[in-house]
Symmetry: C2
Subunit: 312 residues, 2 copies
């Protein structure tokens, strides 16, 4: 089983509007509401890969209930810890005329320390049956940056490798707790490095610096250019056969799912990266985060290039 | 008691955004969610006036539950008929830089005929204790335009006068069922007349034509210009002491509440109109529909002008 921790899930609401009037009243022609947040996208991708998954998260209020019931309908097993605050919404407006996309992301409810402790107890019990855990997404207001680090240490004590997809202080503190893999994108890696990263050598250097702080491997995702991994088995570069524009959020979450899947299966790095790149590319081409077409995945998989020992 | 029927309530979500990026991801600095829909604004205003109120409405899904619990928290008694669909949301984005306001109003769930019948049965039972009923707001998809007319006829059979605030076919069909008062705004009255209404004489003429179709009185609201009423006791004009720009939706709902309050109390028309104009003006000055400052109300009340027999 792979446990996916989602501390700040969301109800993602999408409005299709034929032609948005930015100074008036709009009546969406279509309304979609679905569970969101990076961790839930990872869990859905793992389910689509056929993995045995358990979502552990914090949920509150009627919006939390909506997330729980929609996830159950989608066939993704979950055990949420109920919190006093109201789970956040995101609202995305798609303008049919210009194609522009406007997103409004609520910050999420404050989580109390005892609510996090309740989740951590449930998480520790679940670790007994886990081959890997994924910790993904923003921390809700009220939780310290060390929250992921604490969960990574608990996993390590139980012999379960962890994949961390976070940013800023939560990534920095989590990396120091020695997870198996951290998966920053270029902006997140540059944020940690404190300067822009121009070129492969700069990315490789920043990834090595990050790896020196604790994680066994750093996988930097580079959008349509694929990814660069600094691992216990050397440095690797992997790229899709052709650039695919699309849903970057969904792509990053699919890559995290692919890495966790390969880690749990004990695959070697070249095969992990091949699958992760193919999943990310297939997910970018899908209209909805957390989904991909299996045919896209299979087609891209055959064309992914993976090489070792490159980049600086 | 005054019963307020709200067939298509909403959860009104408001995002305050410091400077909206219409092509990017925005993080609202403040998020407010409150029960909305015209009927609920009317009920809140009646509660604030000290009236004994009962909301009768249709609510479904977790959003319906959110509306119900928020209304209970606000101290507004309600008996919702649960429906299979999900109660709608509205999302309003307020741009702190430009001051522009963008609204996205979901259409609302389809209501099934048997769900409406269940509400109508509950409504008929409640009429025994009612001095007036208010029927306000849009009909949800799935209900015929005659729905308000049916509820007005039930009220008339129980000897309870009805105030109708609707538009289009629901207004036309409802007016024919002979309610005590219909309260169109200028756009709604022009919509029924089938042509623009320029000047008081044109408004008075259209109001008389509408009154000829059934209602005992037609009160046309004219924004900051006050209102024109064609009643069983003559034609009246009422105006606030000074124009107040502000929340037009909230103003119209406050006027409907004021008219129902005066009707239930058996006040003469001049006093009904004086209070309704003062309430509408005080509500327009308030930031949130369904609310007003009592001091604003008292101050405006003293300055409202009401005259009879004018306008064409």
């Amino acid at each position: 089983m792979i446990a996916v921790v989602c501390l700040n899930p969301a109800l993602d609401i999408t409005y299709q509007v034929p032609a948005v009037d930015w100074a008036g009243v709009n009546r969406p022609s279509a309304v979609h509401a679905r569970p969101g947040g990076k961790g839930l996208n990872v869990a859905r991708t793992l389910r689509a890969l056929g993995a045995d998954v358990l979502v552990l998260g914090l949920a509150g209020g009627v919006t939390g209930t909506a997330v729980e019931s929609a996830l159950a309908e989608a066939g993704v097993p979950a055990a949420f810890t109920r919190i006093g605050g109201e789970t956040r919404r995101t609202v995305t407006v798609v303008d049919g005329r210009s194609g522009s996309v406007t997103a409004f992301n609520e910050p999420g409810p404050r989580a109390a320390p005892e609510e996090f402790t309740e989740l951590a107890v449930r998480y520790e019990k679940a670790l007994g049956g886990c081959a890997a855990v994924v910790l993904s997404g923003s921390l809700p207001p009220g939780l310290p940056a060390s929250s992921y680090a604490r969960l990574i240490e608990t996993a390590a004590a139980a012999g379960v490798p962890a994949v961390l997809d976070a940013h800023g202080d939560a990534l920095r503190a989590g990396a120091a707790a020695r997870p198996a893999i951290v998966k920053p994108n270029l902006a997140e890696l540059a944020g940690l490095a404190g300067h822009p990263l121009a070129g492969r050598a700069a990315v490789a250097s920043a990834a090595r610096e990050l790896r020196d702080t604790g994680p066994a491997a750093v996988v930097a995702t580079l959008g349509a250019d694929g990814m660069l991994a600094v691992t216990e088995d050397g440095t690797w570069e992997a790229a899709p056969p052709a650039a695919v524009a699309g849903n970057a959020t969904g792509a990053g979450d699919a890559v995290a799912a692919g890495l966790a899947h390969g880690l749990a299966a004990g695959l070697p790095w070249d095969e992990r990266l091949r699958r992760a790149v193919a999943l990310g590319t297939a997910a970018a081409a899908a209209p909805v985060a957390g989904e991909f077409r299996p045919a896209d995945y299979e087609r891209v998989l055959a064309g992914v290039s993976v090489r070792r020992g490159a980049a600086g």
